[in-house]
């Protein structure tokens, strides 16, 4: 831990990135309190990773990677447990971008269908509209693998007749 994040360094990272982590977690999870739980978990993981973050050429890709992991874990454990798929996210959905709500519903279905890697890629593609190059950067897999997974995910979404209009 000697080269880990110092308190002020961690506080600075939190100051800068926590609001966008919250925003994205809110999009993926739908509930504000869940989103704050995710923020905490994301920063705890940054803390555990120590100084790794400093070496990132594009810090937001790192933030995306960790946030995706954390949120999908939360989503999956919830999807396994409860929540009828079509359940609207209550009053909280009011005023939200309908595309986001739609993407989240898709994600809920896919969370039961896909393995971790495919779900991660599906999220970055359908929900976050990342380009293939960006997905490669975030997930750290080869272009070829990402391409193959994307194809698989699109096919599955079409089969489920869930692919959002783009």
């Amino acid at each position: 831990m000697a080269r880990g994040l110092g308190a002020s360094e961690l506080a600075d990272l939190y100051e800068k990135y926590a609001p966008t982590v919250h925003g994205r977690a809110r999009t993926l999870l739908g509930r504000d309190s869940d989103a704050w739980d995710a923020v905490q978990e994301v920063f705890c993981r940054l803390l555990q990773a120590g100084g790794a973050f400093r070496a990132e050429a594009r810090p937001m890709t790192y933030i995306f990677r960790v946030t995706t992991h954390v949120c999908l874990n939360m989503l999956r454990s919830r999807a396994l447990k409860d929540v009828p798929v079509q359940a609207p996210t209550e009053a909280e959905a009011a005023g939200e971008d309908p595309q986001e709500v739609e993407a989240r519903n898709l994600l809920r279905v896919l969370a039961r269908e896909l393995d971790d890697r495919a779900l991660q890629i599906a999220t970055l593609h359908f929900v976050d509209a990342l380009t293939q190059e960006e997905i490669v950067e975030v997930v750290g897999l080869s272009r070829k693998t990402v391409g193959r997974e994307l194809e698989k995910v699109r096919v599955r979404a079409r089969e489920l007749a869930l692919e959002p209009r783009s």
Binding site: E15, H22, G23, W36, P59, T131, E134, S166
Partner: protein
């Protein structure tokens, strides 16, 4: 694909990690999305959860390894006492019964692992504050760290005394390194917190000037306070 900016690119613009790409100037849709994300980020920053979560994250950094695991599993922390070396976390757990029998109002610190009362603590110990104001009604508890910094410990987010009988859950803390002193003021009517904090800070500063521990003298009498109780809690340097 559309050529619109991805969430990754938009988030980078929100945190100003990247300069705006040319597309942005020509696309009303992306501009609107960016505006919405900026607005949401601004709202998140001023939400109370923003500060609470920051406190929990920083407490996690300060806490020794065993306490970190516990901290992670707790959802709502009360934002205080970080500077003092304590992370306050409200958990749905009762302190052990039969804390102790003693005359007069007092405050005690109960270690959750074994129920030890007012025992010397180690970093990582989880403790609850047991408040017994009888025969008075209200309590106001401050904590002073070894450096003489005084913080209102309970009520955590108040500006005056609280009524311990109204407590739903006991105030719970994770101990981090450094001795501390608790000062409780009991009264029949709520006391404002600031005079108490000031009285303690003045004495702590005086003690520091004499190079004595921060509890070298009791605080000046506090107007309205019926009873003052002090508890010094040593914390060993290793977990």
């Amino acid at each position: 694909m559309s050529g619109h900016l991805s969430r990754l690119a938009l988030d980078e613009l929100v945190v100003e990690d990247a300069p705006p790409p040319a597309h942005l100037a020509t696309c009303a849709q992306c501009q609107a999305k960016l505006a919405r994300l900026r607005e949401a980020a601004g709202a998140a920053r001023v939400a109370p959860e923003f500060a609470w979560t920051r406190t929990r994250v920083l407490a996690q950094r300060a806490a020794p390894a065993p306490a970190r695991r516990l901290l992670r599993t707790w959802r709502w922390a009360v934002p205080l006492a970080l500077a003092l070396g304590l992370a306050s976390v409200v958990v749905p757990r009762e302190p052990p019964e039969g804390v102790r029998v003693k005359g007069g109002p007092f405050v005690s610190v109960v270690r959750q692992s074994d129920g030890a009362v007012d025992a010397p603590l180690s970093p990582g110990d989880v403790v609850t504050l047991s408040l017994k104001p009888a025969p008075y009604r209200y309590a106001l508890v401050f904590a002073t760290d070894a450096a003489g910094k005084v913080s209102l410990l309970w009520p955590a987010r108040g500006t005056q005394s609280g009524d311990p009988t109204a407590l739903v859950m006991p105030p719970t803390f994770i101990v981090t390194p450094g001795d501390f002193v608790l000062d409780a003021f009991f009264s029949d009517a709520p006391l404002p917190a600031e005079p108490g904090r000031a009285a303690l800070a003045i004495r702590a500063a005086a003690c520091a000037a004499l190079e004595l521990s921060s509890d070298c003298q009791p605080p000046a009498r506090l107007e309205g306070a019926a009873h003052h109780y002090r508890l010094a809690v040593p914390v060993s340097s290793s977990p």
